[in-house]
């Protein structure tokens, strides 16, 4: 049976997931209020990381490193917020935020895939330009009519614990959750996914097989920009309803770490982002409740130290796509 085969291949992951779920529900049984608020906070922090990591997954699976996610996010937050403030329409804001992500993605795609600019340099350029323009054109005192509203998904929001955590949030958070599964399906079950992985692993073989490597990379990196733009829009219009200079606060770089932690796979990246979010939530809870008398600086190290430990344990098992970082030149 194929299902049994899948189970035995993924027994570590399924087992871990089951353990985590049991643990979470045990916590929920002990104190439902604190459990829900801590997991909600974890997901609240994880949303931009998940979206950012998905941008990385698409890019690196096609062979293009994107370290400009941070800048794409910042521009998305900026463009979305100010478009919404100017038009007083949050819908326009979200669309403009997503489009600005595409524009940044297109810059990365054309400069690295067509122009063969070093991918790291292109990413750094995006980050610097993003900080520059969002600071320069920033105007204070602008407001948007309201942030993106939270809503309850019918039926799903009634599930204990999972409902209030994942299905009572705003539209971008819900989208982030869905896109992980969609992307997993696309990447591993469709022709586009097979070609994308081929182009990222061994582009000359893919080229020989008749795949247009350049076109596919261009499309993927550009389109992935939508997700980065939305991650930014989430920061300025869903998580808050304000723009602050530098508000992406390193989340784009964290997303890259989560991408590696998640072994370049969408669902594992989701798990990694949730893990990181929960560690932050735990640090905050320990600090706020004052139950243990540990300096907060030390508690706040916890997410990073634990991530490092898990990363070290997982190291050696993860492998980057073969052609990541290398420009493709036909006939080389």
């Amino acid at each position: 049976m194929p299902d049994m085969e899948w189970l035995s291949r993924n027994k570590i992951w399924v087992g871990t997931a089951a353990l985590v779920l049991i643990g979470a529900y045990a916590f929920y049984a002990v104190n439902s209020n604190i459990a829900v608020s801590m997991f909600s906070y974890a997901w609240f922090l994880a949303v931009p990381l998940v979206l950012g990591a998905m941008v990385g997954v698409i890019g690196e699976r096609s062979g293009v490193v994107n370290i400009g996610i941070e800048g794409q996010m910042l521009v998305g937050a900026f463009a979305g917020f100010f478009a919404a403030a100017a038009t007083q329409s949050i819908v326009v804001g979200v669309i403009v935020g997503a489009l600005s992500g595409i524009a940044m993605g297109a810059f990365l795609a054309f400069s690295t895939v067509v122009g063969q600019l070093d991918q790291i340099i292109a990413g750094v350029v995006i980050n610097i330009v993003a900080t520059g323009i969002t600071s320069f054109y920033f105007e204070s005192g602008k407001t948007i009519p309201r942030g993106l509203p939270n809503f309850d998904v019918p039926l799903l929001s009634k599930i204990p614990l999972i409902g209030p955590v994942f299905f009572s949030d705003g539209p971008i958070a819900l989208f982030a959750l869905i896109i992980v599964f969609v992307l997993h399906f696309l990447l591993f079950k469709t022709r586009w996914g097979l070609r994308t992985r081929a182009v990222g692993e061994y582009p000359s073989a893919a080229d020989t097989a008749g795949i247009n490597v350049i076109a596919l990379r261009l499309f993927n990196v550009t389109a992935a920009g939508i997700l980065a733009g939305l991650a930014g829009t989430y920061l300025s219009m869903e998580a808050t309803s304000t723009f602050e200079r530098g508000m992406s606060s390193g989340r784009g770089f964290l997303a890259l770490a989560i991408l590696i932690f998640g072994a370049w796979r969408p669902m594992r990246a989701l798990a990694a982002a949730l893990f990181f979010g929960f560690m932050q939530s735990l640090a905050s809870q320990l600090q706020a409740s004052d139950v243990v008398n540990i300096p907060q600086q030390f508690i706040n190290l916890l997410p990073y130290v634990l991530t490092l430990v898990v990363l070290a344990a997982a190291a050696g098992r993860v492998r980057a796509p073969g052609a990541v970082g290398q420009p493709f030149v036909k006939g080389d």
């Binding site: 942030g147 390193g250 939530s281």
Partner: protein, 346 residues
């Protein structure tokens, strides 16, 4: 593989150009007197302001200090600010003013204490005003404008203690440095004085570059506190705190059962998105203090060391009619008690 150097050079040059724009400097003269005056002349009184990392319109410290500088504008006065983009640039930004022989230089924020003292020692004729910078050792030409944050926090906490129905309140802070620690301490003491059963949840931003501009983090912390039953949130930490205020404002019950309290300035004017919940702000009279000290520089009476600015609570605005008269009287008594010294905080 063919290299295309122009493709590297062009975006890099663009990036540098734009990054240059980012570190913008501004001139307050608004075009009325475009030509910069000669600051070394005795007739011209030049005031320069260097912001802490953040902008001059940050709705917080930098803005309030800059407003204090602008209040000095008039004949023979030149004012100018430089926005610091990176803490590494403090010294370089200060040097721009000292090189042009500015008469008074205002530096904003606790983190600039050391850079200000270093510049002052190198330029003994220039007067420095360090907003929010406690002076451990007196440098003759540096005056630290300090505020007993604990006093402002105490008044805010006292109000929170009277208003809470759940006996749980929270405070979302920026980086853990003495000013935020004092706010938190005063807030806790004040709330316990009003309501001994109260519990206070307190979080500092994990120290880092973005401790005062991470509004999503502040919003998340507020969300978690509210979910755990807190009904009043004090947001004390620039943009990070503002994120917390915004989150309370958009939660159902804002203004009827949930309230938020701003910090440093009257945030009613500066964070409009917090109007639904913003009862008041724990205020440092930063603008007045800056202007007072600049006047002292001008008439030559300024002394090195520390200068205590005033603190208090900002106006209640829309909540003036909603708060019970009894609460308002009690809070006014406490504010008065702190001012005349009958209430000692800490």
């Amino acid at each position: 593989m063919k290299a295309k150097p122009f493709l590297i050079a062009a975006p890099a040059a663009l990036a540098l150009a734009l990054a240059g724009c980012g570190g913008s400097t501004g001139n307050s003269t608004d075009g009325s007197s475009t030509a910069p005056k000669d600051c070394s002349s005795a007739d011209v009184f030049c005031i320069g302001l260097v912001t802490d990392t953040g902008s001059v319109d940050d709705k917080s410290f930098n803005q309030a200090a800059w407003e204090g500088v602008k209040a000095m504008e008039g004949d023979g006065v030149q004012t100018k600010y430089i926005e610091t983009k990176d803490a590494k640039d403090y010294a370089a930004n200060l040097k721009q003013f000292t090189d042009q022989k500015y008469d008074a230089i205002v530096t904003v924020g606790f983190l600039m204490t050391e850079a200000t003292q270093t510049a002052a020692k190198a330029n003994p004729t220039t007067k420095f005003i360090g907003v929010d910078q406690f002076q451990e050792a007196t440098v003759e030409n540096v005056t630290g404008l300090v505020f007993p944050e604990a006093n402002a926090g105490y008044a805010a906490g006292y109000l929170a203690g009277l208003l809470t129905k759940t006996n749980k309140i929270g405070v979302v802070l920026g980086q853990e440095i003495p000013p935020t620690q004092n706010y938190a301490k005063g807030y806790e003491l004040g709330s316990k004085a009003a309501n001994p059963k109260i519990s206070v949840a307190k979080v500092y931003h994990p120290a880092g570059d973005n401790a005062f501009s991470d509004s999503p983090w502040g919003a998340g912390e507020a969300k978690k506190m509210l979910a755990q039953g807190a009904d009043i949130i004090f947001g004390a930490g620039g943009g990070t705190g503002n994120g917390a205020l915004g989150e309370v404002a958009k939660t159902s019950g804002a203004g009827t059962s949930l309230y938020c309290i701003g910090v440093d300035l009257d945030q009613w004017d500066t964070v409009p998105e917090a109007h639904p919940c913003l009862v008041t702000s724990a205020e440092k009279k930063l603008t007045d203090g800056t202007t007072d000290l600049l006047k002292q520089v001008k008439d030559g009476s300024i002394k090195g060391g520390n200068f205590n600015g005033k603190t208090g609570l900002a106006a209640f605005h829309d909540f003036d009619s909603k708060l019970p008269a009894e609460v308002k009287t009690k809070v006014a008594d406490v504010v008065k008690g702190i001012e005349d010294g009958t209430i000692k905080v800490g």
